[in-house]
């Protein structure tokens, strides 16, 4: 880059000028020292007020007007989830969530609903996940009556048509058949089973047999058990008048009756810290996929805020793992690490990467070193400044869209968190010190009791995994269907 030689000198001149605040239009190749910048105060973030209403039938509404675009969106949360399905029918919750929408209602087939919605560029979707169910709707504002009536219909009167149940089962069986095609998803799935136990509701997954066991009656019963207005929260945002929208929603759901749901709390997790070494053989790979870690935590832990900062330093976008495992050593393209905290049950702590087979053990050691270092010495001042800055200075992006704001509030209420949890998080992150980070790392990370999982051609690893302890091989053969 010969052409830049001359510019170095000119640059220094310009640089000096800038420092002495004399250069207002120094058109230079490179010049300014960003460290000298003074930033203007950020424009005021106006946080709009969400309107909350509980309808006579017990359904809670969260409404927020947003007149920028001619759209209306709704998003419901229903207290249900796969944690409530029986062990011999894993997949029941997911299939119920799918077929509520695809199987049509007592008055319209699923195909008719597809046509009706796609013709007006609208969507209505339903889904049931681990610990909640969701229903969503998005329409151009002039189509709100159609959208709302379809949404209400699928929530209240699903028909569970047999042909669409079969279609959903085909999709599930096909994904079982394909579940060992991607190394990362193998590792992710099997790591969860190591942490929570293979039978745990937080880790178990469907098999051909559990899908075959599911009947239409099961779907009807599962829906009947959970889908009631007093068990449902609904966020609404977009181009409407709040009072009118409340009336419309009330009207759409007026036939939906309250019922006693009486749900047991979500299952607890019992975790015993222990080091284990596990390998999954996959012979057609030239990389190994590695996960290491143990149980994680919950968001209502007072240490949560310091753990957020610790996460940023250990495994954030340009963290120690990124710097040391990727950039300095070139061991991986993708390296990750997070002490995950969930709302209502402990998440997982994991670090991992994908690296060439011949650096597998080397990479495991490099990652273990980073975890250990977190518990041994304080982070540097620079690390703390970058980690806290990354959270605090990007805080404004939490308010980019109205949907984000109202959805977040509903989620906090659903899981019983304070409505101002986000603001509280910010205030607490501001207070986090280096000593806090070290304290929570020592309390929550156990580098000597990590579970290690590697997927790959073990015969080509740089060293045998047994350097970490006795190796257990996990068989991921897919149990064949009964019929």
């Amino acid at each position: 880059m010969r052409s830049h030689r001359a510019s170095v000198i000119k640059d220094l001149v310009c640089f000096a000028l800038l420092l002495s605040l004399l250069a207002s239009s120094c058109s230079q190749k490179y010049a300014a020292d960003y460290k000298q910048l003074k930033y203007p105060k950020l424009g005021q973030i106006e946080i709009p007020q969400v309107k909350r209403v509980t309808l006579a039938n017990g359904m809670q509404l969260f409404l927020l007007e947003d007149h920028e675009l001619p759209l209306i969106n709704m998003s419901a949360m229903v207290r249900t989830g796969s944690i409530y399905e029986p062990a011999d029918k894993i997949g029941l919750a997911a299939i119920t969530g799918t077929v509520m929408r695809t199987g049509g209602t007592t008055s319209k087939t699923g195909d008719q609903i597809d046509e009706q919605l796609e013709q007006i560029a609208a969507t209505v979707e339903t889904e049931i996940g681990l610990n909640s169910g969701s229903a969503s709707m998005s329409v151009l504002k002039e189509d709100i009556n159609t959208g709302l009536s379809v949404l209400a219909d699928v929530l209240m009167n699903p028909a569970f048509a047999e042909d669409k149940i079969q279609l959903a089962k085909i999709a599930h069986r096909s994904s079982i058949a394909r579940r060992n095609d991607f190394p990362f998803s193998i590792a992710f799935r099997e790591y969860s089973k190591l942490i929570y136990g293979p039978e745990s509701v937080y880790a178990r997954h469907a098999e051909y047999a559990t899908i075959d066991n599911i009947t239409r009656d099961d779907l009807v019963a599962f829906h009947k058990r959970f889908f009631h207005p007093n068990n449902t929260m609904m966020a609404v945002w977009g181009d409407f008048d709040t009072e009118q929208m409340i009336k419309k929603t009330e009207e759409a759901f007026k036939d939906w009756q309250k019922a006693d749901v009486g749900l047991a709390p979500v299952p607890e997790v019992k975790y015993e810290f222990r080091p284990t070494v596990n390998v999954i053989r996959k012979d057609d790979m030239n990389q190994s996929c590695i996960f290491l870690g143990h149980i994680g935590g919950m968001m209502n832990d007072p240490d949560y805020f310091a753990l957020l900062v610790m996460n940023e330093i250990l495994g954030g976008s340009f963290s120690r793992l990124y710097k040391n495992v990727r950039s300095r050593q070139g061991l991986a393209y993708e390296v990750f690490g997070v002490y995950a905290a969930d709302y209502d049950h402990p998440g997982e702590f994991y670090v991992g990467c994908q690296t060439k087979l011949s650096s597998t053990v080397h990479a495991i050691n490099a990652m273990l070193d980073e975890v250990r270092k977190m518990t041994q010495e304080e982070a540097t001042d620079e690390e703390l400044v970058v980690a806290k800055g990354a959270y605090l200075n990007s805080f404004v992006f939490n308010f980019e869209s109205h949907g984000q704001i109202v959805d977040r509030l509903m989620t906090y209420v659903y899981y019983g968190y304070p409505e101002d949890f986000l603001q509280k998080t910010r205030e607490n992150v501001e207070k986090v010190t280096k000593a806090d980070v070290l304290r929570v790392a020592r309390k929550h990370l156990q580098p000597d009791k990590m579970q290690i999982l590697a997927v790959g051609r073990r015969q080509d690893f740089d060293e045998p995994l047994s350097v970490f302890g006795q190796v257990r091989e996990i068989d991921i053969t897919i149990p064949t269907p009964q019929k």
Partner: protein
């Protein structure tokens, strides 16, 4: 973080934007009027060195998105240096002569030493069996030492840390066949910080830690190789093109990545990162006059130069169907592609509408046939391509368990033949157009999405205003056009078919 995108995603935004006017206003006066409304918030200017800025004001939140579009992608590479556009993208995060280093002079000396040793190692290895293992070992040690010497001068990842610390969101880059994209969103009070960093990135890049980052890219390539979709994609593209560089992998061949030198990367930078080859969009809570002032201050000093030559190789007409079977441990899937014209050709618009009708959503012809009725696939979709040079119109299907690629292939051909003989209904055409309109509205509140679209239109079609002007074309697509275009392009001679068929892994 930094990755080779598998395909340009920009294209999706593009359709969406096109239809803005239709939604907002009655169609007849829509285009002109909406363009006027839009232009009021747009400011464009070009610096003396040829660098183009597009600024769109959106004051909804105190944030701003930046998108730098470098008109260079893997298509601009030749054999021997494949993967270089992407590798350079990685290197553009490594800092500059003043950012990321404690002592650039000393660091440069150590890096030059590394380059020399790397050449020597390559020369020795080239001797094959006659290479001297002792000599190689010694060279390798010296290379490591020089690396350690260079590292002493590092301020590690300063460039990334500064942006993150100041609240960067969505900070990343991506390389496609056609382009290299650098993008980030910032709180709007950090505008000048971005200006300084982005200008310096293209004025004074230092390709430090080159050989380590090369190792990272080799891991990135292995990740692609360990993904069945990646394996099929690579075989498929290589087969579909016999002349045009679209057939080469974006990430490059492993042997090219392993042997590329820092000198080659610097030469590539000098050729393709001239200001005349860069377009920058700024969308958000900004004052265009301020942008202009700062752009002059920080970017105008980058030396200019002519815009690099476009690719002259043309893909010759195909003489017969091409097929490849990837023998794999993964479950079956199928990909079918037909050569089609570039995004600037009038037929491209028709092909986009075809893709909507045949390949999108639960009521599309392919989904209804393959998934709902025949139950032979769990998913099926189409991709109309958005390519600068003539590319491929793609069909993808994933067979359901106990069903085959062959069944899916036949069912897809049946629907393709229907396109040729049966005119699309007006209901289908209306649905496609309505949905494209609504897509636009739904995407319209994204600063980063808009920034990407503006640069795409400006660079690839020559004027960002085409995002409105193309509206006419889409509205004018008729059932006759669809039949004519389907007959012209969707013929067996013009087709490439790639499948994954399952076999057991070798032990």
């Amino acid at each position: 973080m930094k990755q080779a995108m598998q395909r340009p995603r920009i294209g999706r935004f593009l359709l969406v934007i096109l239809l803005l006017a239709v939604v907002m206003l009655p169609l007849t006066r829509a285009q002109a009027q909406d363009l006027v409304q839009f232009e009021k918030r747009m400011t464009e200017f070009m610096l003396g060195n040829g660098l183009k800025f597009l600024v769109l004001e959106r004051h909804e939140a105190p944030v701003v998105s930046f998108h730098t579009y470098a008109d260079v992608g893997s298509v601009d590479e030749v054999k021997g240096i494949t993967g270089l556009a992407h590798l350079f993208e990685h290197m553009a995060f490594k800092g500059t002569k003043t950012i990321g280093t404690k002592n650039y002079q000393a660091e440069a000396k150590a890096m030059a030493k590394m380059d020399e040793l790397f050449d020597a190692i390559k020369a020795e290895k080239r001797k094959g069996d006659k290479a001297d293992p002792e000599k190689l070992k010694k060279l390798q040690e010296q290379f490591e030492q020089a690396g350690q010497e260079a590292q002493k001068h590092l301020v590690p990842d300063e460039y990334d840390d500064v942006l993150m610390q100041h609240g960067a969101q969505g900070y990343n880059a991506g390389t496609t066949e056609d382009a290299t994209h650098y993008y980030v969103s910032m709180p709007s009070n950090k505008l000048e910080l971005w200006m300084i960093l982005e200008a310096d990135r293209f004025a004074n890049p230092v390709l430090r830690e080159f050989y380590k980052e090369r190792d990272v890219v080799m891991e990135e390539r292995r990740m692609m190789e360990n993904n069945p979709r990646g394996r099929l994609w690579e075989e498929f593209e290589a087969l579909a093109y016999r002349a045009h560089p679209y057939g080469e992998p974006i990430i490059g061949h492993m042997s090219d990545v392993a042997t590329v030198t820092r000198r080659e990367a610097e030469a590539f930078f000098r050729q393709y990162y001239r200001p005349s080859n860069l377009t920058i969009a700024v969308v958000g809570d900004v004052d265009p006059q301020q942008i202009k002032k700062l752009a002059e201050k920080y970017f105008a000093g980058i030396p200019g130069g002519p815009k690099p030559e476009p690719v002259e190789t043309e893909e010759p007409p195909q003489r017969g169907e091409r097929r490849v079977t990837v023998e794999d441990t993964a479950q079956p899937q199928i990909r079918i592609g037909y050569h089609q014209p570039s995004v600037n050709h009038p037929d491209s618009t028709v092909l986009q509408v075809i893709s909507e009708i045949i390949g999108r959503g639960r009521t599309s012809r392919l989904y209804k046939s393959l998934v709902k009725e025949k139950r032979i696939a769990v998913s099926v979709d189409t991709w109309p391509g958005w390519d600068k040079y003539p590319g491929l119109f793609m069909f993808n299907a994933v067979p359901s368990r106990d069903h085959t690629n062959q069944q899916c292939e036949q069912a897809i051909y049946t629907e393709i033949e229907r396109l040729k003989i049966e005119p699309a209904s007006s209901k289908e055409l209306d649905k496609a157009k309505t949905r494209m309109r609504a897509d636009l509205i739904r995407e319209f509140d994204s600063n980063s999405g808009l920034a990407a679209e503006l640069t795409f239109y400006e660079v690839i079609t020559g004027d960002w205003r085409n995002l409105f002007r193309q509206l006419d074309k889409i509205e004018k697509v008729t059932a006759d056009d669809i039949q004519r275009v389907a007959k012209e392009y969707f013929i067996s001679k013009n087709r490439t078919v790639g499948v994954i068929e399952t076999v057991q892994a070798a032990k």
